[in-house]
């Protein structure tokens, strides 16, 4: 097994764990945690391909990962703001209890 395959398998495993968390948990914050894990797994793929790719000096994968980290930070801020807003409105973060779109 080459190192690149090891990193790709680890990223796939972390992605699957994050997806399972996002799909099975009831608390909205835990769903966001799952989404963060999935984004991180994608970043690991980008860095691994940058490291073992043919032209690491071009910095393409590294830049992709850095911008991805920045976008993920923005996503986390807006997502958690939405969770706080929904909690103020519905007094719960249980996703199974939120069954209507009208406030």
């Amino acid at each position: 097994m080459t190192p690149l395959i090891g990193y790709l398998l680890l990223a796939a495993l972390l992605f699957a764990i994050g997806l399972a968390g996002a799909l099975t948990r009831r608390n909205a914050i835990l769903v966001l945690i799952g989404i963060e894990l999935m984004l991180n797994a994608a970043n690991l793929n980008l860095i691994a391909f940058w490291r073992y790719g043919p032209h690491p000096e071009a910095l393409t994968g590294m830049m992709f990962a850095i911008f991805s980290i920045a976008v993920a930070a923005a996503e986390a801020a807006v997502g958690l703001g939405l969770v706080i807003s929904i909690h103020r409105h519905a007094h719960t973060t249980d996703l199974d209890a939120m069954n209507r779109m009208k406030g």
Partner: protein, 170 residues
């Protein structure tokens, strides 16, 4: 594969599993920090120093703290009496397992197409933070500006969304 890889991978996977499996939400947030730290170590092991330290600063320093704040503000730290999993959790678990199986199958069956010499002797890319700064300020200056705009918009948007609406509450 070196022993370091397996140790860090075990740390990251254990943190991720704990983050999605633990009952107490605060414990989940702390386990998430462990998973982020494992991934940052993985970046450092991949000779991506800048990305590794950016991961530590952004994820452990900002996102994890934000998650803890959100948990405390929404009183999510109270462990619910009944189950913490969704009603149709089995569907989600099967979907995640299927996607992992598909990804692993795709990775293992494309070993020839993957780039690089494949051995552990792949040359370490000599990329300094100065190179990254030069690239950010020359070739990637437009994406950098767009990300700056996006972060500003997200900051304002998050404040407006989470702001207390006194007028509409009446």
């Amino acid at each position: 594969m070196s022993i370091v890889f397996y140790v860090i991978a075990g740390l990251a996977v254990a943190g991720a599993l704990a983050a999605v499996l633990l009952k107490n939400t605060v414990h989940c947030a702390l386990a998430l920090t462990v998973a982020f730290a494992g991934l940052a170590l993985m970046f450092l092991e991949l000779d991506a120093q800048f990305a590794g330290f950016a991961q530590i600063l952004v994820y452990i320093g900002a996102v994890a703290i934000l998650v803890v704040f959100a948990i405390l503000l929404t009183r999510g730290s109270e462990t619910p009496k009944d189950t913490v999993y969704s009603r149709n959790w089995i569907v989600g678990l099967v979907t995640a397992a299927g996607i992992f199986a598909m990804l692993a199958w795709a990775v293992l069956h494309s070993a020839q197409a993957l780039p690089g010499p494949g051995g552990t002797t792949a040359a370490v890319p000599s990329v300094t933070v100065m190179d990254i700064g030069n690239a950010l300020m020359s070739r990637y200056v437009l994406p950098l500006e767009i990300v700056a705009l996006l972060l500003t918009a997200a900051l304002i948007g998050a404040v407006i969304v989470a702001m207390h609406e006194k007028e509409s509450a009446k």
